[in-house]
Amino acid sequence: MIELKNVTKTFGGRSGDVHAVQDVSLTVAEGEIFGIIGFSGAGKSTLVRCINLLERPTSGSVLIDGKDITKLSEKELREVRKKIGMIFQHFNLMRSRTVYGNIDFPLKKSGLSREERDKKIRSLLELVGLSDKIDAYPSQLSGGQKQRVAIARALANDPKVLLCDEATSALDPQTTQSILKLLNEVNRRLGLTIIIITHQMDVVKDICDRVAVMENGRVVEEGNTIDVFDHPREPVTKDFIATATNINKIYDLIESGNPLTELQPGGKMLILSYSNTNTKEAVISQVSRKFHVDASIIFGNVEVLKELPFGKLVVSVNGAPEDVDAAVAYFQSVGVDTEVIKG
């Protein structure tokens, strides 16, 4: 339903042109939650602004339901924008209006009667769980509450798409969770297509069906969230996953000679990558029993990703060298990705 074709955005600057977005083509299907992740300066904020033409692409086309919106007049574009909600990192609420007034603002263009608008505002506030703050001013709300108001405002004109520009980056982890939960709920209940720009891998991990990774203005990797997590191809993707799982700590521990990483002669240290195919089996205890080795978990990070278990474990296996090798082979044979990092 949203299709970006060879979108490029170049900003002319005194110190030369800045290529914020370079030749990006993406398709976002109706009803999906699509994540765009990248470090700051990767061009993701510019890219998301190209979807509602807050930034006009230097070249390329933006198709919404098959219609190229870069060809529309300003007036037609404003109509299209009403059906694309947007929320921001810093909420962008009006200080001079109450919660009610902020949500009413976009409704002024809806042509609804006062009563219909009133009903709508109340039901939106119920949806985001802020009915008791109806007459509060933004300055009296917490960050999470402000973002809820912003979501209600973005949903006021019954959009089909919701763009989220770093919507959780200014929030603490708990509030982030609650906002993501709300976005998930909105996605399910209203069938809304959601595009999320973020630099937090946790956000992608928690709610995105698909993800695109951006670096230097280009999309370098794209796919189902689980596949991308499971088999990242690009270094930048691996970096992001590492920040989300912390598994790279083991290398620092090995380097500093931490006692945790000491092995007996013939022992090996492994990273076991769990994907959804094998996590149910008790592979570690099986290995201990079958091959007479001591397998101990040093640390790990296994969690639920889009409702499927996913993660990595660092395990040391000690015993007779041939038993250890057999154990490693066994892990591989049951489909656990096994990487020997020491020994």
Binding site: K75, M86, H90, N92, M94
Partner: protein
């Protein structure tokens, strides 16, 4: 009343004229302020929306306004009054009295006020403008619904400052034939050594300024959240 006459003996004979001059000053301030407010707000908004990256970017217009304001602002008011004599005759029909003071007072106030409004509106978070554009609002709707609405407290604040300045300018205009309290103070207080009247005009002006500030503060208190 007798007690006041004891403190200010000259008031007894000049009282009626003082009242008349006070009315003249208020008249000059109110009429000029109304015009200056409207023109200044329009100017301030234009400066914001036509500048580079603005809602209705139009660099040539911005440059003209920007430089025009700087030029008019740099002319001392007392000189501006004389420069504007032909303009005032053309528009109002006279360059004398209260009516003759309007054009110079407005021209002396608008550039300063326009700049102040520009600064006030510039405080509106650009993210809000972006959000409004994303909601499908047209530039004019954003000007009224967001820029002006969000900056009511700061526009009120700069209006108070300008209004107090304007009171000062009317006194100066009075000195060159516009009448009002400035004229009164100079004619009787200064030239005829009736110092009691000089002090009384100061007190009246002080009262006018206090009222302006009181009203302004009330508006700010009720519109800031």
């Amino acid at each position: 009343m007798n007690m006041i006459y004891q403190i200010a003996p000259n008031l007894e004979s000049r009282g009626e004229e003082l009242l008349e001059c006070t009315v003249q000053t208020i008249q000059m301030v109110v009429v000029s302020a109304l015009f200056a407010f409207v023109i200044g707000v329009i100017l301030g908004v234009l400066l914001i929306v036509t500048r580079k990256g603005g809602l209705m970017e139009c660099t040539p217009l911005y440059r003209v306004l920007d430089k025009g304001i700087d030029i008019v602002r740099s002319i001392p008011f007392i000189i501006l009054m004389f420069l504007l004599i032909p303009v005032s005759r053309a528009i109002v029909g006279t360059s004398l009295g209260v009516a003759g003071a309007y054009v110079p007072l407005i021209c002396g106030t608008v550039p300063f006020f326009g700049r102040q409004v520009e600064t006030a509106i510039a405080e509106v978070d650009s993210g809000l403008i972006e959000a409004s554009k994303a909601m499908g609002f047209a530039p004019v709707e954003i000007i009224f619904g967001v820029y002006l609405r969000e900056s009511i407290p700061s526009i009120t604040r700069v209006s108070m400052i300008t209004l107090v300045n304007l009171v000062g300018l009317t006194a100066m205009a009075g000195a060159v034939g516009a009448g009002g309290l400035g004229d009164f103070a100079i004619r009787y207080g200064y030239q005829q050594y009736e110092y009691d009247l000089l002090w009384i005009t100061v007190i009246i002006i002080l009262l006018i300024v206090s009222v302006i500030q009181l009203v302004g503060n009330i508006i700010i208190r009720h519109t800031s959240h």
